[in-house]
């Protein structure tokens, strides 16, 4: 047996770029043909999605779980990633905490809640995971430039990866994004093109541009590898739970790709024999009211979502009206016995505050959406109080301060009396004030 990521001479030739990559093939998810073009996300025969298919039998035979000495982060799971060691981007991504959330759980009436805190990735969101793999693939293919279509988080991740890889980086975003999400990719050296339209307009233009220029756009023509990166979140959850999967996991739904990738990740660690026991996980997808095409399709029984033309939600990272992996996400949710839910804006804002005040984690609205769904499902008895539930917190609230304007504090005069007045007015008396008679030194009346 060899440790994860170590070379194995028994990987079949022709399947992998390098013996130190997981053996894989790029195949059509529908007709199973092997792809003839390496820089594409769709089958050239039926235009269905291409996917990376690992040779799990070989990996099971050759690769043990990662050893204790293997560094945390996505490359810890190199045995299950289709990237040769020589092409791996030297970027520390992943290895984020999975924390038991007892105080949040108590507030929700659940006894075994865990939060996967992906807000602490280098650019503040889980998007660093897929980007690291996609840009590594771009390096392996020798591409000259990279880019993405983004609702904000991916723009920063791609810009950072482009800086590390020293590749010209083009990010296309909707022009209405908040300042923080527009500023970060610029500061990281990317060439930002802000398009006057929705994310779906941006995505269409990026498709045409990437193909005509031969650039590697991480979530477009490198998408099969991009989604491989997202599955590392599942590997970490399983390992940090003692190589077991949770009873239920709640994930935000934008394109639906993350949910599908996590399902693939759980399936792969099961298939290669890394789990202590094989047990089913229910997948729950959460989208905000105002942009919930997958949730709506789940409720109506439709096989695929109907696109939302003009998304209206404070969760701009989930404002994808035409979810590219919506059909696949619906199949995963239904196949797992899970569900889909769309909380309101007020629910999302309350959930951000609840999570922050109980666990000290500040999330963007996508995270609030997930916590709000947990609250709604707990209140209605869908989640059993004893279930082991994982909540995926995928982006930092520091990126979206604008959504919290409504709760910003008014300015107070710079003197103690005024501040004490605020404490009194709000009933904020967490501890007994020190009476003047007990203080040392001279005291004067206010």
């Amino acid at each position: 047996m060899v440790q994860s990521g170590a070379p194995s001479a028994s990987f079949p030739e022709g399947l992998a770029d390098d013996v130190s990559s997981a053996p894989f093939a790029l195949r059509c998810s529908r007709c199973r043909r092997t792809a003839t073009h390496t820089l594409s996300a769709a089958c050239s025969e039926d235009f269905a999605p291409l996917e990376v298919q690992l040779d799990l039998d070989v990996i099971a035979a050759e690769c043990a779980r990662p050893g204790v000495a293997a560094p945390r982060g996505i490359w810890r799971y190199g045995a299950l990633l289709p990237i040769a060691t020589t092409a791996r981007l030297p970027w520390h991504v992943g290895g984020t905490p999975l924390r038991r959330a007892k105080r949040l759980g108590k507030a929700l009436g659940l006894r075994d809640v865990w939060v996967k805190d992906d807000t602490v990735n280098p650019t503040g969101s889980f998007k660093d995971r897929p980007t690291a793999i996609a840009v590594s693939r771009a390096q392996a293919l020798g591409l000259s430039s990279i880019g993405c279509a983004s609702t904000g988080n991916l723009a920063a991740a791609t810009a950072a990866a482009g800086a590390i890889a020293q590749l010209p980086t083009y990010v296309l975003v909707p022009s209405h994004l908040g300042l923080a999400k527009l500023a970060a990719p610029r500061a990281l050296g990317a060439r930002v093109i802000a398009i006057d339209g929705t994310y779906d307009h941006v995505n269409r233009i990026a498709n045409l541009l990437a193909d005509r220029r031969g650039w590697g756009f991480v979530n477009i023509n490198l998408r099969p590898f991009y989604t491989e990166g997202s599955k590392t979140l599942a590997f970490e959850v399983a390992e940090d739970l003692g190589w077991q999967t949770p009873d239920r996991i709640i994930l935000p739904l934008g394109s639906g790709a993350l949910l599908c990738a996590v399902a693939k990740g759980f399936s792969e660690v099961d298939a290669v024999g890394w789990l202590e026991e094989s047990r089913p996980t229910r997948f729950v997808g959460s989208q905000p009211v105002g942009c919930a095409p997958i949730v709506d399709a789940f409720a109506s029984g439709a096989e695929a979502p109907s696109p939302v033309r003009n998304p209206t939600t404070i969760a701009e990272s989930l404002a994808i009206g035409d979810p590219a992996s919506g059909r696949e996400a619906l199949a995963v949710i239904r196949g797992s016995g899970g569900s889909a839910d769309a909380p309101s804006t007020d629910d999302v804002l309350e959930a951000i505050a609840l999570l922050g005040s109980t666990e000290g984690i500040f999330v963007e609205p996508a995270g609030g959406t997930v916590v709000a769904t947990a609250k709604r499902l707990a209140a209605t008895g869908v989640i059993d109080p004893d279930e082991k539930v994982v909540l995926a917190l995928t982006g930092s609230g520091l990126k979206t301060p604008g959504v919290l304007h409504a709760v910003s504090a008014p300015a107070v005069a710079p003197n103690l009396r005024a501040v004490e007045g605020i404490l009194l007015a709000n009933g904020w008396s967490g501890s007994t004030p020190i009476p003047p008679s007990t203080t040392q030194g001279r005291t004067t009346a206010w």
């Binding site: 003839t36 996300a41 050239s44 235009f47 279509a149 005509r212 023509n221 696109p307 035409d322």
Partner: protein
């Protein structure tokens, strides 16, 4: 002239990044002309019920002048004589 842009796997099938067609009508009629030019398998793949159902493409998005035809009149969406039509694989982005 109608300008049609192809990308990714669809461009791999046509061999062209774009083409122009002297046409005015609807999307269904335009696809018939594209089938004449590039072969019936292309139009079949674009509108296969297996890939989408109801005659609408499942794995391909069609845009007329920048708008997804699912927001318009689907395959009956009018295509003007100077329209721009984009054929884009559905599985991208996010």
């Amino acid at each position: 002239m109608v300008t049609v842009y192809f990308t990714s796997a669809i461009r791999q099938r046509t061999g062209d990044y774009e083409t122009t067609i002297d046409y005015a009508g609807d999307v269904q009629g335009l696809l018939r002309l594209l089938a004449n030019r590039y072969g019936p398998q292309l139009a079949e793949a674009l509108t296969s019920p297996q890939s989408g159902g109801g005659g609408l493409p499942g794995y391909v998005n069609i845009y007329v002048d920048g708008t997804d035809i699912r927001h318009l009149q689907a395959l009956a969406t009018p295509v003007g004589a100077d329209a721009t039509v984009d054929l884009v694989p559905a599985v991208s982005g996010g």
